[in-house]
Amino acid sequence: MIVDSAAEFDVREYLRMEMMPHFLCPGCGHGIALRALLWAIHELGIDKDQLAVVSGIGCAGRLSAYIDANTFHVTHGRPLAYATGLALARPDLHVVVITGDGDCLAIGGNHLIHACRRNLKLTCLMLNNEVYGMTGGQVSPTTSESRLTTTTPLGNAEPNFDACALAAAAGASFVGREVTHHVPKLKELIRSGLAHPGFAFIEVLCDCTEIFGRKNELGSSAEMVLRQKSDLRPSAYRDSVDTPFRSNDLPTGILAKTDRPEYGAAYRKAAAAQRASKAAKASTGANKGKA
């Protein structure tokens, strides 16, 4: 069969059925990304009780509400901060952060770079749809140049962020990117990210069909998904085929992987050493007192 593990993976086992159907617009790529995440979790055999999903505000932030696991829907831009505390306190849990491009790079940009720097064992899934969808389609840090949004009616003049380059530069030990069109590949990427013993930053290029797609006349949901394919071709060929969806060339797959010490383990080691030396001092002090 084409996808073996797909046969036994039923996404409904991992969903809060009372919350379904979800609130996302028709054709929204976030649903596909959510499936890939749950599929990767299923393949790794992670117990739902051992899974903690933290998400911020926005369309992507809402996804945690549909996952039947320990979930936290926290303040705007701060899911990484909450997740850092959670992962430090409970190193036995698999902590996954679901965040959007605005949540992660604008409101929570500061938290992102420091989470990357610390290299705490976390998986950060950033769903990039180039726009603030939930609040009505404002320009976001990843909106491509010349794209139309409600706050850039003349076309976006700001250069956009390459989130993966940013995360890698800030020191993330695992950086990857994939599009929602290639679900098995996306699942594999998330799976390696979840298995990575450090901070894993994964950018998923999602389609916002209702707001971004409509405003920029990118066609139907199906056309937008299909465009992702041409999007990944070398630019010279791509430009001759159809209008590029994103203004810059975006490589996919695992883009950076380094072997750096994990922060949580280092912290616990230091704390244990500190406790041991304190105890040793206390006992020698007590002996001196007796003598």
Binding site: V11, R12, L15, I32, R35, H181, V183, T209, A222
Partner: protein, 324 residues
């Protein structure tokens, strides 16, 4: 094409090797090398041609390449002897046929000399796209169904080697063609040392060691096969049988979750889905569905679930239904 019905399945002791026979008759030695583009057919023929040339023979080589590209059929005629006139081998005149792929080997079998020809073939199967036009699970492949044993019965001397697996075990699948060169070398009178020198010119420098290992492995395999004709068959037939387990496809659609985004309908490779009057997805042509799961994977609303039931389950379910 005429093939002898009764033939020996392995070489007899004391039988003249074809090189010697050809030299006696002052006729050129004909070696036909065939395979699929990308396997290294041309490299095999180059190694052979340059070796024959270094031995003072006149060599003519004729090949098709370029147009076949990766994945297409590729063949190369190598003729050498005291005097060679035509660059191509006539039908039924090849002394040795070396095939890097099973079906290609069968395709060129009529070129082999009916009574003395040696057939050396990799059992690797590269199924071309036109052999699987019917994409339904369980549909039979239109690929050659002859087993190595059936072929061996029709050829004077035949060897079916699983060279690809042997090369894989050496650490580089791409050395399969050199395993076959090793096998070919036993059918010609050139010393093994000269073969190895010729090979080293044509393989990438980094892979010389693995290729020489592959050469020796192919050589020893044939010698083993000569002394002990019972050769373990490649598990290709077994794998093929497994691939043909029939499945029936069933789509479970949750209509209240469908948001009519049309992704599944437009991206289905078989175009067998459609939106009904209420703009909810439905399977319009169940017989066309192959169960590829693209609709399930790309549905943002989790409204589609594909079930692939094996035929046994499907038959049992049908029996239950008729009972009820």
């Amino acid at each position: 094409m005429s093939r002898p019905t009764a033939s020996t399945s392995s070489a007899k002791d004391g039988q003249l090797r074809p090189t010697a026979a050809a030299a006696k008759a002052r006729e050129p030695m004909n070696v036909l090398i065939v395979g699929v583009g990308g396997q290294g057919v041309i490299m095999v023929s180059k190694a052979l041609a340059s070796l024959a040339q270094s031995k003072g023979y006149q060599v003519k080589q004729s090949e098709v390449h370029g147009m076949a590209k990766r994945g297409g059929t590729v063949f190369s005629h190598v003729r050498f002897g005291p005097q060679v006139w035509s660059p191509t081998i006539p039908k039924g005149e090849a002394d040795i046929l070396v095939a890097l792929e099973w079906a290609e080997g069968l395709r060129w079998l009529p070129f082999l000399k009916p009574d003395t020809g040696i057939f050396i073939c990799d059992t690797k199967r590269i199924v071309p796209p036109f052999a699987c036009l019917n994409r339904r699970p369980g549909a039979p492949l239109r690929y050659s169904r002859e087993t190595p044993a059936e072929v061996r019965a029709q050829v004077a001397e035949a060897y079916a080697i699983d060279a690809t697996r042997m090369a894989e075990e050496l650490g580089n699948e791409r050395a399969a063609n050199v395993v076959l060169i090793g096998a070919l070398s036993t059918a010609l009178d050139f010393p093994a040392g000269d073969w190895e020198k010729s090979l080293a010119q044509f393989v990438p420098k980094k892979t010389i060691a693995v290729n020489l290992d592959a050469f020796r492995l192919g050589r020893s395999w044939i010698e083993e096969a000569r002394t002990n004709p019972v050769v373990t068959e490649a598990p290709a037939a077994k794998a093929a049988a497994l691939a043909h387990v029939p499945y029936s496809v069933r789509l479970e659609i949750t209509p209240e979750w469908c948001k009519s985004c049309d992704i599944c309908v437009k991206l289905c490779p078989e175009r067998c889905l459609r939106l009904n009057a209420e703009r909810i997805v439905e399977l319009a042509q169940p017989e066309k569905c192959t169960g590829c799961r693209l609709c399930e994977l790309l549905c943002p609303d989790f409204a589609i679930r594909v079930h692939l039931d094996s035929a046994v389950v499907a038959i049992a379910a049908a029996a239950q239904e008729t009972k009820a």
